[in-house]
């Protein structure tokens, strides 16, 4: 599955808008994840997961920054996320099903914050892009 030229354009242009709110988007996405899918908290026993916690904010930032890295290197996401891919495969070992859950929560966050930009076409492009990112992050699992 690879992104068409149109899809890449949509992602890159939306990313320019999104990046100004990157931190809060990250935090909100994680908040949505932990509330809708409480089982995902099992990966964070060492975190204070209360809304507004410093750890949640820091981690949210990290996650969205990585999505941004992928967007900025949209022609070669594999190379851009290679280190993260290894991290997830050998250290974190987050079950692959969770990437779909996080992706969905990011989509919901984008829909809520950028309703005008989140057209059906943009929705499709982002779902596909996040699916590619998820594949890259799990490609070294076995």
């Amino acid at each position: 599955m690879s992104l068409t030229k149109t899809e890449r354009t949509i992602i890159v242009s939306m990313w320019a808008k999104i990046s100004t709110q990157a931190d809060t988007i990250g935090t909100e996405t994680l908040e949505r994840l932990f509330l809708s899918y409480p089982q995902t908290k099992t990966y964070f026993p060492h975190f204070d997961l209360h809304p507004g916690s410093a750890q949640l904010r820091a981690h949210g930032s990290k996650v969205v920054a990585a999505v941004g890295d992928a967007a900025k290197s949209i022609d070669n996401i594999g190379a851009a996320l290679s280190k993260l891919s290894e991290l997830h495969a050998y250290i974190l070992r987050v079950d692959p099903v969770n990437f779909k859950l996080l992706s969905h929560c990011l989509l919901v966050t984008l829909a809520a914050r950028f309703p005008a930009d989140f057209t059906a076409e943009a929705h499709a492009a982002w779902d596909k892009f996040l699916s590619v990112v998820s594949s890259v992050l799990t490609e070294k699992y076995r």
Binding site: E31, A112, E121, H123
Partner: protein, 147 residues
């Protein structure tokens, strides 16, 4: 499986009362067909689905989307017995329509995105969590009579 507290039900009914089923129905089904194009396999008789704008403007898509969301609206009045409410529809989707239940999960998540888009800030993480329970319950109920 899904147990809805009084608080959950209040949040659900209050948000749902503000949903324009006419608009949201077409938007939801349309987006399903755009974002997950393989779902178009069930709608050969719907005419042109050749582009996002063709899909989103297709009157048959809109009409069917309204049907689906109207049904969901009924379910929202019967959250304690989703399996009972969707029994016949479940049989229909299995025996006559041959729809993979995975599609119910996909549709549910598209609906959540549409609600987020329409309600913005009001669609808080807490409200989303409750609606995820609704769509999961509906998807399970719709799959319940499959054999």
């Amino acid at each position: 499986m899904s147990n809805f507290t009084a608080e959950d039900k209040a949040a659900i009914t209050s948000l749902w009362a503000k949903v324009n089923v006419e608009d949201a129905g077409g938007e939801t089904l349309g987006r399903l067909l755009v974002v997950y194009p393989w779902t178009q396999r069930f709608f050969d008789s719907f005419g042109s689905l050749s582009s996002p704008s063709a899909i989103m403007g297709n009157p048959k898509v809109k009409a069917h989307g309204v049907k689906v969301l109207t049904s969901l609206g009924e379910a929202i009045k019967n959250l304690d017995d989703l399996k009972g409410t969707f029994g016949q529809l479940s049989e229909l989707h299995c025996d006559k329509l041959h729809v993979d239940p995975e599609n119910f999960r996909l549709l549910g998540n598209v609906l959540v995105c549409v609600l987020a888009r329409n309600f913005g800030k009001e669609f808080t993480p807490q409200v989303q969590a409750v609606f995820q329970k609704v769509v999961a319950g509906v998807a399970t109920a719709m799959a319940h009579k499959y054999h």
